[in-house]
């Protein structure tokens, strides 16, 4: 319903072909939107990774999944490397993940390498000019969302009526770990966006550009791809990505302190810069 009907070619990106057995928890490929190619990456909540079956299921982004997603991004960049800024193909991320895998092998091998690789690839694609738009249609949780979504130029989310959920951890777990009464947390959660789970809170912090309704899904994604592309071509990339959302957070009053801190540090450095930058 997002892409042109029957246009999705799984595992194909440019001239590259992904090994079809790899990382079943993630789906990658090329689709068309208004007949233009886009790279599409999404979670598959129904798949189980047979090699990591105790950890990778229900949309978990495991080792293979994150490397597969990173590869898809690098192939996207390579496929369009000769294209001009305004012609780089969009990257559409559909987000529905409960997070990364908590498992022994994941720690032995360092799953942070996989998630970090995917984040770096997305940041690279964004800065090469690809419009990267992420849309949350289900769960966007912790490290999974951090690598699959939070490096995008723009982040959209279906409203909470659809069961979308953005958080680091459920309140019950937070209560246990920080040793605070769950009732107190629930009370505070009603008004303080800074730790309360949910789309609306994230929106207030600038973490989500727009909350959308399901009828508008396709049009909203197209609209944001166009807006992002326009901003890049106009040289206004600082309004995009994590930095842009930081500015949004200040605008929406959800994260006011952040900007004060950054400005203050810069001021303090200005005062002593000559000592460090000229010899």
């Amino acid at each position: 319903m997002i892409v042109d009907s029957d246009s999705f070619l799984e595992n194909v990106i440019g001239d590259y072909q992904m090994d079809s057995g790899l990382g079943p928890g993630a789906i990658v490929g090329t689709a068309r939107i208004n007949n233009q190619p886009v790279t599409l990456i999404t979670n598959d909540a129904r798949a189980i990774n047979p090699r990591f079956r105790r950890v990778v299921y229900a949309g978990v982004i495991g080792l293979e999944e994150a490397y597969k997603m990173a590869t898809a991004i690098f192939w996207t960049i390579a496929s369009d490397h000769k294209k001009s800024l305004g012609e780089k193909r969009p990257i559409v991320l559909i987000v529905d993940t409960p997070g990364n895998g908590a498992g022994k092998l994941e720690e032995v091998l360092g799953i942070y390498n996989a998630t970090g690789a995917y984040q770096l690839a997305l940041a690279e694609a964004r800065k090469m000019g690809h419009p990267v738009v992420a849309t949350i249609i289900g769960r966007a949780i912790s490290g999974g969302f951090l690598c699959h979504g939070m490096q995008a130029d723009h982040i959209l989310s279906l409203s909470k009526e659809f069961g979308t959920m953005i958080h680091v951890m459920p309140l019950t777990s937070i209560a246990k770990i920080i040793k605070t009464d769950i009732k107190r947390l629930e009370e505070l959660a009603k008004t303080n966006p800074v730790f309360a789970a949910g789309v609306d809170f994230f929106y207030r912090l600038g973490g989500v550009e727009e909350i959308i309704r399901i009828e508008d899904l396709r049009q909203a994604i197209i609209r944001h791809i166009d807006a992002v592309r326009e901003a890049k071509v106009a040289g206004q990339s600082e309004k995009l990505g994590p930095w842009g959302r930081g500015l949004l957070g200040a605008e929406r009053d959800g994260r006011k302190t952040r900007l004060l801190v950054i400005n203050r540090i810069c001021e303090e450095f200005e005062a002593i810069a000559p000592k460090y930058l000229s010899i």
């Binding site: 590869t71 092998l105 032995v108 360092g110 690279e124 951090l146 107190r184 994260r255």
Partner: protein, 322 residues
């Protein structure tokens, strides 16, 4: 508090036991560290008091700039003793700002000294001692993680980014992703690098699969020696500030292009290398890191954890990188 230690004393002090401020001061040249947005500015968390938590005037992270020879070093040193070094809104903003300053310094230096900028090339050093996102400020912490990664990505290829891991908390959560993205990782034996802490793994997998009380297991899963063998960290040093400093100085003496060999992620080729390692894991049906150590040529993997550092560095066989 300068009267509590001298720089020379810091060199011999345990990195593990040191405070974030001691590490920051001891890592750069004597007397050269200027803290930015330190405790005097009292920029503490506006959110913690609401949850009945004590605040810290540096919000658990020491940021600032020092010198290594002529080169400005932008330092981020996390305080593991403050809420497990976890990252909230203020601390996160301090990290982002420090990275931004490093990049601005780079641009300035290149403009001012077009022919000799390499001599003054800034560097970023991050001493990680953190569990990741500060749950009391979960959303702000998570957003800060994404911002730090974005800034770090900007820095890669322009200025060296060095990660140091040797504190009590180690480097966990989303901050592990960031350490992984650095050009170089320097660890001590006591340092640990991972995503999920041992207690949570035990909870998820059961005590039979992973006993969080088994220190040996914990260290051979996420500890410095294991990461060194795997080539997941580049250098393994003794637990003292001077040893970390010495290795850092050594790395920064190398021409910038030489640092590429130390990276573990960031390009398609590196992803392929990592995927080969994942494939190896499934082929070996590995259940424990010692099976990898054996595969890489260590005939008596069980003996490795008890070896003293010097002996270990001489005898341990590491994974061969292409």
């Amino acid at each position: 508090m300068k009267d509590m230690w001298t720089w020379d004393e810091l060199q011999k002090s345990s990195f593990f036991e040191a405070t974030a401020r001691e590490r920051a001061n001891g890592l750069v040249d004597k007397g050269s560290f200027t803290e930015l947005l330190g405790p005097r500015d009292r920029f503490s968390s506006p959110h913690l008091p609401m949850l009945g938590e004590a605040i810290a005037f540096d919000d658990g992270v020491v940021t600032g700039v020092g010198l290594l020879g002529k080169r400005p070093v932008f330092m981020i040193s996390q305080e593991g003793r403050f809420i497990g070094g976890a990252v909230g809104e203020v601390g996160g903003a301090k990290m982002v700002a420090t990275l931004k300053l490093a990049l601005q310094a780079y641009e300035q230096v290149r403009k001012q000294y077009p022919d000799s900028y390499q001599e003054k090339l800034p560097a970023v050093v991050i001493s990680f001692d953190t569990g990741g996102v500060r749950l009391h400020e979960a959303n702000a912490g998570l957003l800060a993680h994404a911002e730090v990664m974005d800034q770090l990505h900007d820095a890669l290829g322009k200025i060296p980014v060095i990660a140091l891991i040797g504190g009590k908390v180690g480097c966990f959560g989303g901050m592990g992703f960031i350490a992984a993205a650095a050009d170089v990782i320097i660890m001590s034996e006591q340092g640990r690098l991972g995503l999920t802490g041992p207690a949570v793994i035990e909870e998820e997998m059961g005590k039979n699969e992973f006993d969080a009380d088994d220190k040996g297991l914990v260290y051979r899963t996420t500890g410095g020696k294991h990461k060194y063998i795997l080539q997941d960290c580049n250098f393994l040093v003794a637990d003292c500030i001077g040893a970390f400093r010495s290795q850092m100085v050594g790395v920064l003496k190398m021409p910038f292009v030489a640092l590429e060999q130390f990276r573990r992620i960031g390009t398609l080729d590196l992803v392929k290398e990592q995927l080969a390692l994942v494939k190896l894991a499934t082929e070996l049906r590995a259940r424990d890191s010692m099976e990898f150590w054996k595969h890489f040529g260590n005939e008596d993997p069980g003996a490795l954890p008890d070896l003293k550092l010097e002996e270990f560095l001489k005898t341990a066989k590491r994974r061969v990188r292409k």
